[in-house]
């Protein structure tokens, strides 16, 4: 690695899930780069492989269910796919943290918030050798950091005593409690109401900025991505189809899929909604041979059906995978 500003680089990652009689070829060459302190968004429809991509970074997909035929995930110069179990645990417990979509399922219902958060401290680099009272102070500080009043009371609560927004903030607190370099947020606001979502996003944004962490933000909402990220990767059917700085994506949208997505978003100004995108995502067991978006694309030509377009730079770091721009 020559550029030491790059913290994570995914190169041509392919991931197949094993299913009955074959493979479901979900990821088909994902390329993604995250710099230090950068906020990167991954946007796409449901079933595009957004979550699979980030799960493969942490290697938290059950072992016998998948196969990686090709690709590299380079974190700080080391390939995660070639790491030993011990090294991998080091990454999971001290380097990268993750927030899940459903806060209700991410917390264990039979332990109090305090017990669960203490566990994180107890196995972390910074908290391992500290006394119990010092560890508790760290937990309380973390709860305070996510703007929850009265942390002592929350410490003894069970997850079911908290509302959805509170639970998600506890999840954020757990993720930022110890010094991490990269945070992965998998649709942190989707299960919540607009006003609560807004609060959660703001909290997340403030903390990430304060600690100068890198953030990978998964979302299906272009609006959320626009507010929170520095650069956006639009994913479709297991490939990144467009990747650029956030403002650039919204000003000069190039890929037909991104254009379709933008048109489908209802606008505040009114004027009805455009047609959206015809069809649905492909069957991953028998994916289209060429560009995976070709069957739904208005611009598709013979070439699109037969060969897969590469992600190419079209100027000033704006990358698009399409033959017909």
């Amino acid at each position: 690695m020559t550029d030491d500003r790059v913290i994570l680089e995914i190169k041509n990652l392919k991931l197949w899930y094993t299913v009955y009689k074959g493979y479901s070829k979900v990821l088909d060459g994902v390329n993604l780069t995250v710099h230090k302190g950068e906020k990167v968004g991954i946007v796409g429809e449901a079933g595009c492989g957004k979550t699979t991509t980030v799960k493969s970074i942490l290697q938290i997909i059950p072992e016998n269910q998948f196969l990686i035929p090709e690709g590299e995930i380079i974190y700080k110069g080391k390939d995660i796919l070639k790491m030993s179990g011990k090294e991998l645990n080091q990454v999971r417990s001290g380097e990268i943290s993750m927030i899940y979509q459903e806060p209700a399922n991410a917390l264990n219902p039979v332990f109090t918030i305090g017990q669960q958060m203490m566990d994180v401290i107890r196995y972390s680099e910074q908290g391992r050798d500290k006394s119990r009272s010092e560890q508790k102070a760290m937990v309380l500080q973390a709860i305070r950091d996510v703007f929850i009043p009265d942390p002592e009371r929350i410490f003894d609560y069970y997850p079911n005593q908290l509302s959805g927004g509170m639970k998600q903030r506890i999840c954020i607190a757990m993720a930022i409690m110890t010094q991490r370099d990269l945070m992965i947020a998998d649709e942190p606001g989707t299960a919540l109401d607009v006003t609560i979502q807004d609060q959660v996003h703001k909290t997340l944004n403030k903390l990430v900025n304060k600690r100068n962490m890198a953030l990978i933000m998964i979302t299906h909402s272009l609006g959320v991505a626009r507010e929170l990220t520095d650069s956006i990767n639009v994913m479709y059917a297991g490939t990144v189809v467009e990747s650029a700085k956030t403002a650039e994506v919204f000003e000069h949208t190039l890929h037909p899929y991104t254009i379709g997505l933008m048109e489908a978003v209802p606008r505040l100004g009114g004027g009805g909604i455009q047609a959206g995108i015809y069809g649905s995502i492909p069957d991953y067991q028998y994916p289209p041979k060429g560009c995976r978006f070709a069957p739904r694309c208005k611009r598709a030509t013979e070439q699109c059906l037969n060969c897969k377009p590469e992600l190419c730079d079209v100027g000033s770091g704006h990358k698009v995978a399409c033959f017909n721009l």
């Binding site: 429809e45 449901a46 509302s163 927004g165 509170m166 109401d193 607009v194 006003t195 609560i196 979502q197 807004d198 609060q199 299906h220 909402s221 272009l222 609006g223 959320v224 626009r226 507010e227 919204f250 379709g260 997505l261 933008m262 048109e263 489908a264 978003v265 209802p266 606008r267 505040l268 100004g269 009114g270 004027g271 009805g272 909604i273 455009q274 047609a275 959206g276 995108i277 015809y278 649905s280």
Partner: protein
């Protein structure tokens, strides 16, 4: 004289919780607390609110899944709950599409069986050939190929399933359709398709829609009038476009400012960023005074003691807020 198809008068829907308050009286969840609404024929009326604000409960009371605790619902001038059982004709005229198409259909039935049930019950298109034609027509209306008749819900995608649910609701030719967050479980690209189709059908058949959603920007594009609900009460009622250049209620301003948008023009349409604090309180122990005063950025002393009343700001626009009332009175003087 506008043709009013549905009139909801002081609807209250309380559910008992197995608890007693400090004064020994049983406690209730006040899911819907004194809602009045008039819906004109051919209108698309939107109900918007956070979860727990009672939007779905209103829909379920209208469709007859609950009997109201108090208040009346009139459909075409007649009280829908006057008898213990509703007439078949009334059931035919009011139909509903649920939020989750995966759980609102029997997974063992084919699409054909699903679509035939309302036709059998309401004795529509009884003859064999008529029936075939009707089924084809229904599928054509929601833009699905005929081969789908022989599939089961599990074999088709979420968007297509919702299309079938819509076709099922339209099978018995209703006059009034309730849509309970029909697209919130779906992607934007599919949402756009379903919404456009619904609007087309609405125009063709002159249907009246009661559209429930939590997405204000979607409402802006499809509804004629929007009611914002907060804790079982309407806090503001206005034509859809008016919300965006003249939101009166602080809660509405808060909701609009929280919408993530995708362009600069839209950013300018939003009111100045309102700092959002707190969460929706429990509907069992409602705060005294205005139910919103705990989260309101412009709260006054009056708000914590006196419950504001709904006031008419102009013909179509009304709000339930002390501040709006004061402003309104000042402008009148």
């Amino acid at each position: 004289m506008d043709d009013i198809i549905m009139k909801i008068e002081n609807l209250k829907q309380y559910f008992p919780v197995n608890k007693k308050g400090p004064d020994g009286k049983p406690l209730f969840v006040k899911a819907v607390d004194d809602v009045s609404l008039e819906i004109k024929r051919g209108e698309v009326i939107g109900l918007v609110g956070e979860s727990g604000s009672g939007k779905s409960t209103i829909a379920y009371s209208v469709i007859g899944m609950y009997r109201p605790t108090s208040g009346r619902i009139y459909f075409e001038g007649r009280d829908v709950n006057e008898k213990r059982k509703r007439s078949l004709q009334l059931k035919k005229d009011l139909q509903i599409v649920f939020q989750d198409p995966g759980s609102s259909m029997n997974p063992h039935q084919t699409i054909r069986e699903i679509l035939e049930l309302p036709l059998n019950i309401h004795k529509i298109a009884v003859g064999k050939e008529e029936r075939e034609q009707k089924l084809r027509e229904l599928l054509k209306m929601v833009e699905l190929p005929e081969s789908y008749l022989y599939k089961v819900p599990g074999a088709i995608g979420g968007g297509e399933r919702q299309m079938v649910a819509i076709a099922r609701a339209l099978a018995c030719e209703p006059k009034f359709l309730i849509l309970d967050e029909p697209t919130s479980a779906l992607d934007v690209s599919i949402q756009a398709k379903i919404i456009n189709m619904l609007l087309k059908i609405q125009k063709e058949k002159n249907l009246t829609f009661l559209f429930i959603t939590h997405d204000l920007s979607l409402m802006r594009n499809i509804a004629t009038r929007v009611a914002i609900l907060y804790l079982g009460r309407i806090s503001e009622l206005a034509p859809a476009e008016e919300f965006f250049y003249r939101p009166e209620h602080p809660y509405t301003q808060m909701l609009i400012s929280a919408i993530p948008v995708i362009s600069e023009e839209e950013e300018r349409l939003k009111p100045k960023r309102v700092e959002i604090s707190g969460e929706i309180p429990s509907p069992v122990n409602l705060p005294p005074g205005c139910s919103f005063h705990l989260r309101c950025p412009s709260v006054m002393n009056l708000c914590s003691t006196l419950d504001p009343e709904m006031i008419k700001l102009d013909e179509n626009h009304s709000a339930r807020c002390h501040l709006c009332k004061q402003r309104f009175e000042q402008s009148c003087e």
